[in-house]
Symmetry: C2
Subunit: 484 residues, 2 copies
């Protein structure tokens, strides 16, 4: 391959073709994994819903697939490559600072990560895939560059290598969020300390090919409009928000910062507690499948739709949940269309209003995400926290609507409250509190396909960042601290 490469692409511009291919390949991985995850999720809901009507059997049907998938995932990475466990962003941050992590960017680890990640997310655990995808993209980049340079002597140019890895991180985030620009910025923020503007275009170039591929695959295979906006929203109003609402947005941001910091603190405490407790940890070391088995059983039980799950919209996929939370209508309004009522029906129960439901949803998501992220499987945590933030924002937005049913007076006109806007702001604020990144506001604009709420989002993100930075290191730095 190297020979053909040198005589064709290397002459027009090795870099360009390399980056384009990198973007395309990672997008394909992302798409295929998404496909697998959706299939697993559908299977899980189908088994619960259509196989039987007896509650106990339904319970068995509900838990068996997730527990099996988590155990499979844990076993797979254990046998093939334990380096594939966890996120990937903290490790890439370390690598980009010049530390060499052994076996971290090998083919073996890549296979383990792809397969185990699909299984783990397919189980419906509250986990995300942004970190692992960064890892996968970095592995792809490394393997590709080895393939190209293997006949010319490995690691011809070490600085070149780290430029490639930086671009790979950008592609990873971009393909995950469907956000080419925000992805590049996010990856720079979370992995770099100093950044050379000279390398700026690499990430963009690669990400745009990734995004394009992602979009084309959505065209070809599922008629979905994935790329323009994964969580497409359309709020058509002249005044999407009122200056007076900005205080509330800032408060949402403050809360996002606080709970981001709380998450990081609890997560670290929990991990250190488990490790310190010699008896538990040595027991779990010997019986590697007990912890993932029990933990996934416990989490899945929590989400059982006939039990607590009815408050948690647990039959919906993560994507649908977020789409619902971002939806552009007021849930507590009296006149809902049929589709709107269908959406709300997932978020109320006979006994409880949406406020109780959403509070429970947040609380449970918070703790299950901490637990799930300690499972020995590939996992990210941004998306669950994002979900939690969206729920919080939706709650505040609906409450605002109840307080000001007519809307807020601005000049002469009344501008109505848009709860969906609050949900977006909340999601951004919580993610920012967790990752200490500002570029999440670009990511969320690209995700929702809208940029109208950019000022509230930025305010909330800045407040969340300030508070969270004051209280705790970022999640990634916290994980680096734990691993040291």
């Amino acid at each position: 391959i190297s020979f053909i490469w040198r005589n064709t692409f290397a002459k027009i511009g090795e870099d360009w073709v390399f980056l384009a291919l990198l973007g395309i390949i990672v997008a394909m991985f992302s798409y295929i994994m998404d496909y697998g995850i959706v299939m697993c999720n559908n299977a899980r809901v189908w088994m619960y819903r259509d196989l039987t009507t007896h509650p106990f059997l339904q319970y068995l049907a509900w838990i068996c697939l997730p527990v099996f998938l988590v155990l499979f995932s844990a076993g797979f990475v254990h046998i093939l490559a334990p380096q594939a466990i966890g996120s990937g962003i903290p490790e890439m941050k370390t690598i980009l600072r010049g530390v060499v992590l052994k076996e971290y960017l090998t083919f073996r680890t890549g296979v383990a990560k792809v397969v185990a990640l699909t299984a783990a997310l397919g189980s419906g655990m509250p986990l995300g895939k942004e970190g692992p995808l960064v890892h996968i993209a970095s592995i792809v980049a490394t393997l590709m560059s080895k393939m190209v340079t293997s006949f010319k002597g490995i690691y011809e140019n070490e600085s070149r290598n780290s430029e490639m890895l930086a671009a790979a991180c950008a592609v990873g985030v971009s393909c995950n969020f469907g956000a080419p620009i925000g992805g590049v910025l996010f990856s720079i923020e979370v992995t770099s300390v100093y950044f050379a503007i000279r390398n700026y275009w690499r990430g963009f170039f690669s990400a745009v090919f990734g995004a394009l591929m992602f979009r084309l695959m959505a065209y070809w295979f599922s008629n979905e409009d994935t790329l323009t906006a994964i969580f497409g929203t359309e709020y058509h109003v002249d005044f999407p928000y009122d200056p007076q609402e900005l205080f509330i947005y800032a408060l949402v941001g403050a809360f996002g910062g606080l709970s981001g910091a709380a998450f990081i603190l609890f997560h670290r405490r929990y991990v250190l507690f488990m490790r310190k407790n010699k008896r538990i940890s040595s027991f779990l070391q010997k019986n590697r499948f007990i912890y993932p088995g029990l933990m996934s059983l416990f989490i899945t039980t929590l989400y059982f739709p006939l039990g607590l799950g009815q408050f948690l919209a647990s039959t919906l996929s993560t994507r649908t949940q977020i789409l619902h939370l971002f939806s552009n209508f007021t849930w507590v309004s009296d006149d809902l269309t049929v589709e709107q009522a269908e959406i709300v029906s997932h978020w109320v129960t006979e006994s409880c209003s949406i406020f109780v439901n959403l509070s429970l949803y947040m609380l449970v998501t918070f703790f299950t995400t901490i637990w799930a992220s300690t499972l020995p499987v590939p996992s990210g945590t941004v998306i669950p926290i994002f979900k939690m933030g969206a729920a919080f924002g939706r709650m505040i937005g609906e409450a605002m609507h109840l307080w000001f049913p007519e809307g807020v007076r601005i000049g002469g006109a009344l501008s109505p409250i848009l709860p969906g806007g609050y949900a977006i702001v909340g999601a951004a604020a919580f993610s920012a509190g967790l990752t200490h990144s500002i570029s999440i506001c670009v990511v969320i604009s690209e995700m929702t396909g809208q940029i109208r709420h950019i000022i509230p989002v930025m305010i909330a993100v800045l407040v969340a960042n300030a508070i969270s930075t004051l209280l705790q290191p970022s999640l990634y730095d916290s994980i680096i601290m734990i691993k040291k």
Copy 2:
């Protein structure tokens, strides 16, 4: 002031308050200057249109105000502070690299820049204000930090000082384009070589206050919705573009790169030619007002609405021109509403179609911008090139519509061509070709309040960058080369 400062804000967090104030003050400057510029422009059009009907007197009325304003502007900076001449971005780039430019960031220069810039842009010359506003913001930051630290010893911390200047550059760009995120990124790209992620939030924090202030002022004083999007557009379609159209977008990008490079080349050649020619240059040195007077007379004459100006939509302000070019309907379509026909009427003449008009518009803008940017007044060049790109995009879009009147076939459905989308892509591509910046795609999303076209925009911007970088240094580097 320093005393009060130390006992109040310094305790809660000097940095924060400082950055917020910086954003607010720069936004106020930007707003007031915009107001002055619009007034001058209105006066110019009014004098031409309503004062008299005799063509020759109309001509006199058309030219007298611009020539006077340019002469005033040139005289003002000449007497007060010649450092205020020109853009400001190249100089800030030099300063941020550690070179000390004398008298460049003084109060005197600031006053000269603000007044002369308003006059120069009010004259209707094809100039922009992004560069000068960066300079003004940097001056504001320097003066503020002197005020605060004057009693504690000047320049307590030099690295701190350059962090502040970087934030100021971000604010300058943000307040100009009404693009808080894009502004920060753009300023990083055009002024820095290496960037510390640690300082990232400063620019954002300051820019968000600037953007907020800008928006609030628009609320209070003119009922306009300036900030959400200065050139607000709304394209409501499920498929804003088709994958096949991406080739055309890439071609638009290529053309943008070529003409960006051509602009930089011609600009440098022209400046060097004028300087080399000893006789001309010594003559102009002695008679400082001859060159600006004649040049502004010449350019204004070109734009005279009864002459060539009828092809150039010259009675419209720059803002209106861009809004027209971005408008969401097809100009060559047969059934236009009254408002739509009114818009198109500015861009056709009795004898010529929009294609001839737009071509002339581009050609004239190209050369007059080069000439105007050599006037000894504060000036930027991004906005005129942006306009030119929008015209090119609109032209291509309309041509595409004529070739594919039914739209492009995608899957089963026909997706119609959106010429406005091409205009946006063209504007981004041409600006990118000029400034060698990638973040222009974020700027344009924020400017238009839409992010749906992000993939075509990114593709065009990357292509434009690649071609332009291959052929020429960026405009700012070219100016640094000239000044050396």
